[in-house]
Symmetry: C2
Subunit: 324 residues, 2 copies
């Protein structure tokens, strides 16, 4: 009645933005991500018959009420599936390089899904684990597996899950640029809703994302960094463009976001194959080859502090652990 | 056989982005602008029987070949319409506050159209002058009149012209924020072509722009700064969003562009009614009331040099002059 799991975060290269079904977290489009080695969550779940509610400790303290709510609702789902009504002690540690700003619900709910399902003796296959993680946070469905992962949008709970399409055992990595946030973030959930409901560009985004996904799968299979990067960058810009057209407009960029984008374009202009992607926040994630890391980090160091830059290779899928 | 004209530039509040007919410069959508007092062009045209080609002096020197080409082709059109094959001496001076970065072809071709048509004795009405200016540069069609001007997209040369819908004799003005350009600009002409041809969002942009134009005309007639500003800001973001989705993506923003946008949002959050619009370049134009100017300029001064900020009220239409 105890399990501990490590799960890595993932960065979407073809983005997930918009739900078809809010309750089941079924996405409007399929998406594709790369799991990252440098960012992970360790979670331990111990079922305890003596508790009257779940006991949750995150990074040594009680998380905010919104997080507690989300975790308890997720645990209720696990209890329902397992037929075991007992509460649990949940301890979770996020391992995120200082100032990276990449505290992700993807690794969090992937680790929780795996640890809780084992502690409650659900014995789930990887696709079933991905489906369970999806119910906590859509992007968590992509953190069960490592390497390049595709989340099939599906049409119901059974068909909407993610799986590895390539182990990413070739020369590709990311440099994460943490950018100071000047404004309060609008949550991804709320941002998605507003974009779906009000952006005149959203229907065209859905078509473009489907087409980008097909092209990206082929680029990954060809191990083409150039194509993976170019499709990812254009896809991210299209997602942010769909948000900018929402009513009221949604803009997650800061001045530092533009600076990082411009440096990527300048470096590419100088012959360094590098590309960016940006999620629902100001941080910029740069896709590049290992050998170009020093050149890119050195260029970025003129604009960002060393602590704001984190290099990461591809990461593995979830790992069950004895303890942590 | 001589005429001198002053024309003011204009800033579109519902943007013109994309041509239906490249040769005649017929736009895909109607647009709406405010003519500005602080930025203007003085142009003098003297027909001279002794010349073997047009003699062009701009700001005291010979302009670049591309500008000379555009001006000569425009003058050929005037010669064709007037039946007078003679060449002309053309002297033009752009009055643009230092570092504003607002050297615009709008005031340039409006002044040239008015001066050349008078020097060649074409005797054109204001709508006919607007149509002629349009052939030099689309946005120039909106600089024949002052105040708020609508360019009716039309369906042929005769029906595509601009006219004043409101003299802007109420409390509205602009603060122009000149932002350092880090990258070479892609011309509006090329940017428009690429967006029309490749952006999956362009068809939705056309619909959105038509709808914004109707709402903006009503907001102008109501003299509602809040509505004019809100519609203008959302319209500009939708235009830039359509460009970001082009292939390859088009981004005219710089880090300073984002900084100015964020300051506008922060000021608005503090209760100052101000809004921005952005054209095919990094500069940000802020729409506000006269009484809020000091507050806004003082806030922006923490981020931009004093020389980068220019305040302008609404401007008048073209004026014929004795000399300059």
């Amino acid at each position: 009645m105890f399990a501990a799991v490590r799960a890595h975060t993932n960065i979407a290269l073809v983005k997930y933005w918009g739900k078809k079904n809010e309750a089941l977290i079924l996405p409007m489009t399929g998406s594709l991500s790369l799991t990252l080695d440098a960012f992970f969550t360790d979670t331990r779940v111990a079922v305890a018959k003596d508790l009257t509610e779940d006991e949750i400790v995150m990074d040594g303290k009680r998380p905010d009420d919104r997080s507690i709510d989300k975790i308890r609702r997720f645990m209720d789902l696990v209890r329902e599936k397992s037929g075991n009504p007992a509460y649990a002690r949940i301890r979770t540690e996020n391992h995120v390089p200082v100032a990276s700003g990449l505290a992700s619900s993807a690794s969090g709910f992937a680790a929780l899904a795996a640890a809780a399902s084992k502690a409650y003796r659900l014995d789930l296959s990887a696709p079933a684990l991905s489906r369970l993680a999806r119910r906590g946070s859509g992007s968590a469905s992509r953190s069960i597996d490592g390497g390049f992962v595709v989340w099939h949008k599906g049409h119901d709970d059974a068909s909407s899950y993610a799986e590895q399409i390539d182990p990413a055992d070739w020369d590709i990595q990311m440099i994460i640029v943490a950018v100071d946030r000047q404004r309060k973030k609008i949550s991804s959930r709320e941002g998605m809703r507003r974009t779906v409901a009000t952006s005149p560009y959203y229907p065209a985004w859905v078509d473009a994302a489907e087409s980008d996904l097909l092209k990206m799968e082929q680029a990954v299979h060809r191990h083409s960094l150039e194509d993976v990067g170019r499709i990812a960058e254009a896809n991210a810009l299209k997602m942010h463009a769909a948000m900018l057209a929402a009513d009221p407009p949604l803009c997650y960029w800061e001045a530092g976001t533009m600076t990082a984008m411009q440096r990527v374009w300048a470096l590419r202009n100088d012959g360094v194959p590098c590309f960016f992607t940006i999620d629902a926040g100001p941080n910029v994630k740069i896709i590049c080859r290992k050998k170009d890391t020093d050149r890119i980090v050195s260029d970025l160091s003129d604009y960002f502090s060393a602590g704001a830059l984190t290099v990461s290779g591809p990461g593995s899928g979830i790992r069950f652990r004895e303890h942590f």
